[in-house]
């Protein structure tokens, strides 16, 4: 059943076996998994069935760090959450992602890959990427790339699958919940308060607002927060203000270790080989892509982190040094400074003036000038970085409040120098394989660092780590079953529980960890 909570007359006092707060990927997956075991599930979402600016406004945050985007522009506060605009890019994490790596501070999950592996198949079904594995041995022959890296010392190919069109979780999996007699979905239900009994360490009830001055309460045996990677921490910090940090925050871990997946074009490949073309294919309504990464043994031996490295053909315009140098010079002039390598940027600009003019024409006049701007001249690598977790990268409550009186977020985020060093080290190893196998030559764009790690840096908008999973409350917020330390009936679902985020988009692993959580909750019934 689906109820618009704005239609509830008078303050309601609801009861449930389980109350799931948030109907995004995690919340919808969890409700679906639990409905064959629990008879009375309440699933709340702060939005309706469609995007609404006034509701979205509640995600507004203040980003202290330059270049880090406001989550108001990346999260979606309505049924289905961010799956309403994701790319559906899925791959499983690797075994090494779960390990404690001596060279990666704060790494190590309390569960291993084998604990999660059984749930990946079902997770793929939720993501509609099907159960036929992500194994390169299966897919590379179909892509005719099985020999591409034969003899490589450091690199390997991995597979990403994406459903076409992308799976909008409420659109695809919501109907089963709406039809179920065991699940009651309340839309326009924004959680505003929580009652916790420190004596028996249990959450007794929560309150939610339907944006019309009415507040309703829900009593349940168990509560699960599935608000999203930032909202989970925001609400938990808010609740902890009321309960003196007894909800998993005794050691000030909530909101810390915040990670994202920075995306960069930090290297180019020059190749005369046609082997780097056609790295993707369509297969039964799915987009299959082979991407490069380092092998686990390489990561261990070289003590570096991984990169997700798909390669895409790029034209003259996209590869232009002149355009990049033009922007650097323009910024330097505006700041009345002389940039590093001034002469080089100037010469890039002058010798590449045709592409600079092309850029100006495209931007100012929405037209193209030169035919050769579209000529393929190499390959770009729109890479995704694994960011290592640091305590200083964090979100915390600001003094500004939203319309329901809950503090908005401040976000402090930076890509540490060690992560930048890992990036170049990993790229160098990949470049050595390209050269050794005569696949091409890699060019590292270090001279563009100021822009690559500045205004040119993109993000996966994968907000991870803020309620991290750990063996101990000293180093985490939730235990290996995603139960908040210091409580006995309060859980978190979503990638906020990831201690490390790999170089892989998180949604498949969000679904897998949530199915694992569901199994645990079913066993407790």
């Amino acid at each position: 059943m689906l109820t618009d909570s704005r239609t509830i007359e008078g303050p309601a006092n609801l009861t449930a076996d389980i109350c799931i707060m948030g109907a995004g990927v995690a919340g919808i997956t969890l409700a679906n998994e639990l409905k064959d075991k629990y008879d009375n599930i309440i699933l709340l979402d702060a939005g309706g069935e469609h995007y609404e600016e006034s509701i979205q406004e509640f995600y507004d945050a203040h980003t202290v760090s330059p270049f880090y985007p406001n989550p108001k522009d990346s999260r979606l506060r309505f049924l289905g959450g961010a799956s309403n605009h994701w790319a559906n890019n899925t791959s499983p994490f690797s075994p090494i992602d779960f390990e404690k790596r001596s060279w990666v501070p704060n790494s190590g999950w309390p569960i291993g890959y084998n604990d999660l592996a059984p749930f990946y198949v079902k997770a793929a079904m939720y993501c509609q990427t099907e159960s036929d594995s992500y194994n390169p041995d299966y897919w590379l022959p179909k892509l005719q790339k099985q020999t591409l890296l034969t003899g490589a010392n450091y690199s390997e190919l991995a597979i990403a699958k994406a459903s076409v069109p992308p799976t909008r979780f409420f659109h695809v999996h919501g109907n089963a919940l709406v039809k179920s007699s065991k699940v009651h979905i309340y839309s326009y239900a924004s959680v505003t308060d929580l009652t916790f009994n420190p004596n028996d360490q249990s959450v007794k009830k929560i309150k939610f607002s339907s944006y019309n001055r009415l507040e309703h309460s829900i009593q349940a045996d168990k509560f699960v927060m599935a608000f999203g990677g930032l909202e989970n921490a925001r609400m938990l910090l808010y609740f902890n203000n009321k309960y003196n940090n007894q909800l998993g925050n005794k050691f000030d871990n909530v909101g810390r270790y915040f990670m994202d997946h920075p995306t960069l074009n930090a290297a180019q490949i020059f190749s005369k080989s046609d082997q780097l073309n056609n790295m993707s294919t369509m297969d039964k309504q799915r987009f299959i892509v082979a991407f490069f990464q380092l092998t686990e043994s390489t990561l261990r031996e070289n003590e570096t982190t991984n990169l997700r490295m798909p390669v895409v053909a790029a034209n003259e315009y996209q590869m232009s040094d002149g355009i990049s140098s033009f922007h650097i010079l323009k910024q330097a002039i505006a700041e009345r400074e002389v940039p590093e390598q001034f002469g080089k940027h100037l010469s890039n600009f002058v010798s590449d003036i045709d592409m600079v003019m092309e850029a100006v024409a495209r931007k100012q006049f929405d037209t193209t000038l030169f035919d050769d701007a579209t000529a393929i001249s190499g390959f770009q690598i729109p890479m995704m970085i694994e960011q290592t977790p640091h305590r200083s990268n964090r979100i915390y409550l600001s003094k500004r409040k939203d319309k329901l009186g809950i503090p908005k977020l401040n976000i402090e985020w930076e890509l540490k120098q060690s992560d930048r060093d890992y990036l170049w080290r990993t790229l160098e190893l990949f470049g050595r394989d390209l050269g050794a196998l005569s696949l091409g030559r890699l060019r590292l764009l270090k001279e563009r660092s100021s822009r690559l790690f500045g205004d040119q840096m993109g993000f996966g908008h994968h907000h991870m780590g803020t309620t991290r999973m750990s063996d101990s409350p000293e180093t985490g917020v939730v235990d290996s079953h995603q139960k908040i330390f210091g409580t006995n009936n309060f859980y978190v679902a979503g990638c906020s529980v990831f201690p490390t985020g790999s170089h892989i988009p998180p949604t498949l692993t969000i679904a897998a960890t949530t199915i694992r959580l569901a199994q645990h909750l079913k066993e407790m019934k």
Partner: protein, 117 residues
């Protein structure tokens, strides 16, 4: 100049492939080269001088000459450079030590010819 632009780098790699297939003795007999490619070779030569103590010709002389005179074996030599980490960056481009040495040697020989540089 853009030192080593994407287009010109492709040309350089193409040129290098051709050059690598030729006996070294041919290098000194090259009689013409366009200014742009010359600039790029100079850039590679500078990268060699920045990274190496000895001149390129001494490095090349230290290699078995039979390897240098055969395109396939030279290709293997370059592959081995990459595998063993014998790489030199030229404006961010990862080139093998041998590739850079050959280009550097070429420019040295070219500069000895009158009226060329």
């Amino acid at each position: 100049m853009r030192s080593l632009s994407r287009r010109d780098m492709l040309k350089l790699i193409t040129a290098s492939s051709t050059v690598l297939g030729l006996p070294l003795s041919h290098f000194t007999t090259a009689s013409s080269i366009n200014d742009q490619t010359l600039d790029e070779l100079v850039c590679v030569h500078r990268a060699w001088l920045k990274c190496e103590v000895n001149k390129a010709e001494y490095y090349l002389a230290s290699l078995p000459q039979s390897l240098l005179l055969n395109a396939d074996s030279l290709k293997q030599l370059i592959s081995a450079d990459f595998s063993q980490g014998h790489i030199i960056y030229v404006n961010g481009l990862m080139l093998s030590r041998t590739e850079v040495a050959i280009s550097s040697y070429y420019i040295e020989q070219f500069s000895k010819k009158p009226n060329k540089v």
